[in-house]
């Protein structure tokens, strides 16, 4: 039984370092100012779990949550 992951960016914390977009481009999108939000509803497709954790652990503003569902 594999767990499903979901990523979420806290828009009040994100300052647009864009590390998540560089490390996990499939999971995050940037707006016109370069601030990040999760792609779609944030569901992490199978095989990209490692990238989700990598994005979280490289966000300088601690703005990314990885939720285990």
């Amino acid at each position: 039984m594999t767990e499903r992951l979901r990523v979420h960016v806290d828009p009040d914390k994100c300052q647009g370092h864009a590390r998540c977009k560089a490390l996990a481009p499939e999971l995050f999108e940037l707006d016109e100012y370069g601030n990040a939000h999760e792609a779609g509803d944030g569901t992490v497709p199978p095989g990209l779990e490692d990238k989700a954790w990598l994005a979280k652990s490289n966000c300088p503003e601690i703005a990314i949550d990885v939720i285990e569902e």
């Binding site: 370092h17 590390r19 560089a22 940037l30 016109e32 100012y33 370069g34 652990s57 490289n58 300088p60």
Partner: protein
């Protein structure tokens, strides 16, 4: 020529913990053991120099201050000997506090997104190769003076729509503001006046002939009420873009090449695995972060348990935060494949560097193009590496021998 005599040098430091001075030659040469000593003493240290100044020494204390715009103002962002009156619209948004900060920042962000930087990348690769063409046959080069220095200055000139051939003029202004200006107010004012006059000429030209560059972009920008920006705001932001984008990335590229020159293992690995270069760039940014910022304490508070009093400046050392072993295992080692890296080289909080995506792209391209064409290089034992003093740290002279050692 200025008729002001050169400022007296500061007395040498004998007690770093109670009397630190970031302009001391020992700090310029090798700040890392000094930061370690300060960090071991307290998360916040204080000096009576610079009319009173604190320095947070841990990552956590730096984060607390960067995120606290209520007690810490950005109206003064360089720790200097003097505190002249603050100019309105000095260099928005870096010198702005809430609530005026956000609109000024949002104005500058769209031209600097990662996608916008991708469009600039081919021009950057061409610039790097033109520079390499200029010295590769010599077998030796000052990599700071002939390579690292000209990459960011040409990039920002290209974006602003001003001649890349004016690069040396811009570099001199930056030297006057960021280095000489710490101890000599007149140098700073002279450079600011010259820059404003320079940009006014370019603004005038664009009134009749609009262009597709950052100067026209700022001239055409409108605030929430649909009004154009005041001229002082446009000039302040243009000065900021020119100053902030040049010796910072020059320093980061120079420090990266300096590391690779003396670490053949890392160099060989990046040549064999060029896909690792973006990760290595982050680690080099952490280990050799060029930029130290400042704040002014405007309201008494407590940081990491230490009382902090209004009227003092704060030396906000992102470079020292990035060497904190409580945040980064093996903080004093360069681990070019470091996986977890929340470094603060571009600041934390609302003042995150507007140009971080540009700087990252420039560093990646500069290292990729250099390593493709110059896989073997080392420090020239007959030369001397010289580091800049003050707010931005990086090699200003970097003598290399090119090619395999005989």
């Amino acid at each position: 020529m200025s008729d002001v005599s050169p400022p007296a040098p500061h007395p040498p430091v004998t007690d770093w913990v109670h009397d630190f001075d970031h302009t001391d030659p020992r700090w310029t040469e090798d700040p890392f053991p000094i930061w370690e000593e300060l960090r071991a003493a307290s998360p916040i240290v204080h000096t009576e120099r610079f009319l009173g100044c604190y320095m947070p020494t841990t990552y956590e204390a730096v984060r607390e201050i960067a995120n606290d715009t209520e007690h810490f103002s950005s109206r003064r962002i360089i720790v200097r000997d003097v505190r002249p009156e603050v100019a309105r619209n000095a260099a928005p948004p870096i010198t702005s506090d809430p609530p005026v900060h956000k609109p000024a920042k949002q104005l500058l962000l769209p031209p600097f997104t990662p996608d916008a930087m991708k469009k600039l990348e081919p021009r950057m690769r061409a610039i790097c190769n033109e520079l390499i063409d200029g010295f590769i046959a010599d077998g030796k080069v000052d990599a700071a003076g002939r390579y690292a220095k000209y990459i960011p200055v040409r990039a920002i000139a290209h974006m602003l729509g001003i001649p890349e051939s004016d690069s040396d003029l811009f570099i001199n202004w930056i030297h006057m503001i960021l280095e000489l200006g710490i101890k000599d107010e007149s140098k700073l004012l002279q450079a600011v006046q010259e820059m404003s006059a320079y940009f006014r000429t370019h603004i005038e030209e664009r009134r009749s002939k609009p262009t597709d560059d950052l100067i026209s972009y700022l001239m055409n920008a409108r605030d929430k009420e649909g009004q154009p920006l005041e001229e002082s705001h446009v000039l302040g932001s243009l000065r900021l873009l020119l100053i902030a984008g040049i010796d910072t990335t020059w320093s980061a590229i120079g420090s990266s090449l300096w590391h690779l020159a003396k670490t053949p293992g890392d160099r060989e690995r990046l040549i064999a695995e060029p896909g690792l270069i973006p990760t290595a760039v982050e680690e080099l940014l952490r280990a050799y972060s060029p930029v130290t910022m400042a704040r002014e304490v405007v309201k008494e508070t407590t940081i990491s348990g230490c009382p902090v009093k209004a009227g003092n400046m704060v030396l906000l050392s992102f470079p020292a935060a990035n060497r904190d072993p409580a945040m980064f295992p093996d903080a004093d080692k360069v681990v070019i494949d470091r996986r977890e890296n929340r470094h603060a080289a571009f600041g934390l909080g609302i003042h995150r560097c507007v140009g971080s995506n540009l700087a990252r792209m420039e560093m990646q391209v500069a290292l990729e193009e250099w390593l493709k064409r110059i896989p073997d290089f080392r420090l020239d034992p007959a030369g001397t590496v010289a580091w800049s003093q003050g707010t931005v740290r990086g090699p200003r002279q970097l003598p290399f021998l090119l090619g395999k050692a005989m």
